[in-house]
Symmetry: C2
Subunit: 395 residues, 2 copies
């Protein structure tokens, strides 16, 4: 009776092993200060204007006159319209009816695989990869094909050619700017994916959580900047890495009305799924989203992004000066670089920890193609990052 796919999930000991080696080092070297630049979680607080919107909503719920019960499962009109207005600031037209607000981008991406037939759909997943896409596909029992990412394609893969004749429908997980590699697709690169999807009836699940970190004008802030994307792409977004909602929880996604497969509108069955299996995101958090995506909210949260960007530069300046190959940084809070002198990921981890007392994340933990790479993040404090950068000068 038990779903056997759970036994196929890889035991990912990545962060456990990082913590173990780190603790061991600290125990053996009590005087040394270890700086951790491994975590993919924000540290800057919520913008008061956004937190206060949530607080005001909670005050409403204390009184019978302003109390609310169940809200719409797909999100209140006010929050879906706030998302549509945000898209409009990017010059993209999205109908509020195409927007669904949910508990987070992770949950939405994990759940959307429910819409596909296990036997007749193949998942295309990048390698290295954010573990969720792979794991949620494994739990459901989908066939998975990997898209090799490497220095050769600058960790921005091109559409595969052999899939075009697949007898299964294809769903592609793309994340740009990418976690863990920080690599971002340019418009031209993404255009190729959109053309591939429209040609082969594939669907692109586009994880756009880091779009606000983009500084390179060639990189799109939404897949809907690309012509033809509305008939093949679902875009997922998050307030976690922008407005600091990692513990507040809130994400949203867009499914264009044009997106149909097997004669079925994806938006319709996603709404069927959500109205059946989900009871809607919290009212107060949606009031937070409304402000977080307003001009004032964005101005405030962009200060945090600037803070992280300043950290990024401390690290990339060193990599630049040493001529070390890396992706990310420019458009991402993540810096993904080649371990010097052909070191393997864990070998470099130990070297960095022992010699410089700096902790990062071994790239191989994100997939076989991550071997020989390493990830540092800019989510630490400025002081810690500056101190780490100072140490790394002796790399």
């Amino acid at each position: 009776m038990i779903n056997k796919n759970y036994s196929k999930l890889e035991k990912n000991y990545l962060f456990t092993e990082v913590a173990r080696r780190c603790d061991e080092f600290v125990a053996a070297n009590p005087g040394k200060r270890v700086i951790k630049l491994g975590v993919g979680d924000v540290t800057r607080p919520l913008a008061p204007v956004t937190a206060d919107a949530i607080i005001r909503a909670m005050e409403e719920l204390k009184h019978a006159e302003t109390f609310r019960g169940y809200g719409p499962e797909v999100g209140y009109a006010f929050s879906r319209e706030a998302v549509a207005r945000y898209y409009a600031t990017r010059g993209i037209t999205v109908d509020a009816d195409e927007v669904t607000v949910g508990d987070g981008i992770g949950e939405d991406i994990a759940n959307i695989v429910d819409l596909f037939d296990i036997h007749e759909t193949k998942m295309l997943v990048q390698n290295p990869v954010y573990p969720l896409y792979k794991a949620t596909s494994i739990i459901s029992g989908f066939e998975i094909e990997y898209l090799k990412c490497s220095k050769e394609n600058n960790f921005t893969p091109t559409p595969p050619e052999n899939t075009e004749n697949s007898n299964k429908g294809v769903v592609v997980f793309l994340c740009s700017p990418n976690n863990p590699t920080g690599a971002a697709f340019t418009r031209d690169q993404l255009q190729k994916w959109v053309e591939f999807a429209n040609r082969t009836n594939a669907i692109i699940l586009y994880d756009n959580a880091y779009e606000r970190y983009i500084t390179d004008n060639r990189c799109p802030h939404s897949i809907y900047e690309i012509e033809g994307a509305r008939s093949c792409a679902i875009e997922f977004n998050s307030l976690s890495k922008t407005a600091g909602f990692t513990c507040v929880r809130m994400g949203y996604n867009v499914i264009p009305k044009e997106l149909e497969r097997d004669g079925i509108q994806l938006l319709t069955i996603w709404k069927q799924r959500q109205t059946t299996k989900y009871n809607g995101a919290p009212y107060m958090t949606q009031r937070g989203l409304e402000i977080a995506l307003s001009e004032e909210g964005l101005r405030e949260s962009d200060k945090n992004i600037e803070y992280y960007r300043r950290n990024v530069k401390l690290i990339t300046d060193i990599l630049d000066s040493k001529g070390i190959y890396y992706t990310g940084g420019v458009n991402s809070p993540y810096i993904w670089f080649e371990c010097p002198n052909g070191m393997k990921s864990w070998e470099f981890f130990d070297y960095l920890l022992n010699k410089f007392n700096v902790v990062g994340t071994p790239g191989v933990g994100f997939g076989t193609e991550g071997e020989g790479y390493f990830r540092l993040t800019s989510f630490g404090s400025y002081e810690d990052t500056a101190e780490a950068a100072e140490r790394l000068k002796k790399l």
Copy 2:
């Protein structure tokens, strides 16, 4: 590529049709005041002590020193321990490690079917039934068998006999006190289910959302009051109908460590699921749960339950005086009664609307066995319920 099971979901027009007929009546009879006692959603506000706990947590998130990032996917220790303490007040020992905190009881029940093999598991579902259990089973593609509920078994079904030789594993959805019928299992009745499950290796998914409405001492407040339940039952709970969290969102569940099937601990794979597909319930809401389940929080929210109970009595007094058969009311905010004079559910709906300008929910909307029955809820205001009761005296 599309999951064809979505096309098997019944289009449930129940509440749409209720609203349509209601609007039509109002348009045709502008002077009449229609009282709505159909909705299954609370109307009393949050206890200020609980709302304030959430507000304090939001204040923390405004400052770097007290900001938090991702929390544990299964819930913070402080909230899981609050649940364990709540169980202890009922004399039930639950380890905080057996507790998972999530976005709501609906979501948890919808998602837990992920743990079972579609081909080797059969779902047992009551008829009439809260639509979720059936719908989430249909989306995944499980075989469903119905448990007939009727006046004969007082809408509290006994375990089936023919399932004992099934070559599939069996998962039973039980909800007590029940939505929509309000019927609650006694300890003796539930003992039979636990024995059935342990004998046949079935698993009981026990929806306990309405336990705080129980006044009959023979009815258990948790399935774990029943001997043997720890090896066969998962219990789901909610703060929606007690602390008024329908728009705040928060539920929790307990999976005892002893519960194993096919040599696999259910708690382990549920945690695998949650750490993979879920990023944890909001920090601030968990601070709300902590207070809502404290002595002070319960004292406050029980005032709302008393308020609804007073409404219940207004309605059951009339049914009693007229000798109309009903379940619920005593242990539930729902009253489920036989339509007088052999009327069908929708026939009675129209009669009640046209003659008394009162709106309720036709029982047949919850399943074929609900035909000839009708549901009223106690979630309206006291004034409205009293006025409706006054009108119903002429029934």
